[in-house]
Amino acid sequence: MPFKRFVEIGRVALVNYGKDYGRLVVIVDVVDQNRALVDAPDMVRCQINFKRLTLTDIKIDIKRVPKKATLIKAMEEADVKTKWENSSWGKKLIVQKRRASLNDFDRFKVMLAKIKRGGAIRQELAKLKKEVAA
């Protein structure tokens, strides 16, 4: 099982610990064995330990330590945002965030919807069972 996601300049990663938890960042330089210089369109460029990053499949084409404007342009060209939101990982995170932000009323509506869906499934199942039995 070879590695598929490498730490390289332009690799998009997700911060999994600390103040910027949950943010998508781009590795723009490697400081030393443990740290990378990391940047994103809406944050100040900073160094971060590799242990705090989870690499994604997305990679963009940039030179070492690009200017902010260059970085933003490269991210738009590679369409990082849409690629991320269409990936199953990205979709999962969006759903998690939505579930955490639910209102008490929203949770009630979700419960009613789940009951309705379960009822419809059970009806179909009963129909299919009848056909098999017949």
Partner: protein, 219 residues
Amino acid sequence: MAPSSKMALGIKRASRSNTYHRRGLWAIKAKNGGAFPKAAPPAAAAEPKFYPADDVKPRTVSTRKPKPTKLRSTITPGTVLILLAGRYMGKRVVFLKQLKSGLLLITGPFKINGVPVRRVNQTYVIATSTKVDISCVKVDKFDDKYFAREKKTRAKKTEGELFETEKEATKNLPDFKKDDQKAIDAELIKAIEAVPELKNYLSARFSLRDGDKPHEMSF
């Protein structure tokens, strides 16, 4: 001779004769016919019968005025609240207004979940972010006096009746209170039925289930 220094001037100004003149004691004397008016000596108090053993300082009257109860910023008229204690524990109710005593005026509405027009303390309440439009509802006639208990008149018991347990008179809600409830709920129910599922939401009770983390839930 003019005073040579400011200190000398001040000494002269603070002198006995100068202050006497400045205070106008001469004018008061003149007004009172030559002598300074003496206040009549207070009538001598009778010798008290009792002297306490210890010298105790009398307590001074407290001048503390309690501040009006601060209403949580998340609670605004029309907010749906979850009651946390009492016989209506878990019920979702509509907040109407804060009364002068600091308590919150709420109603079920009665037809939806059986909670009447009632007062509740805001510490026993979770405020959700769901709001109902309450602009058509008139709440002016409700205040703390409306909810005051009726004074029970006790009839004097004869000796024989003293040992009989008093029969509890069944308390019936006066008709005007029932009408007030209906009046307030009529407008409110119209506003509630305008929002889909809100009526079912208000008739259901809130409870925590397995896996629920209330400190992470947003209401």
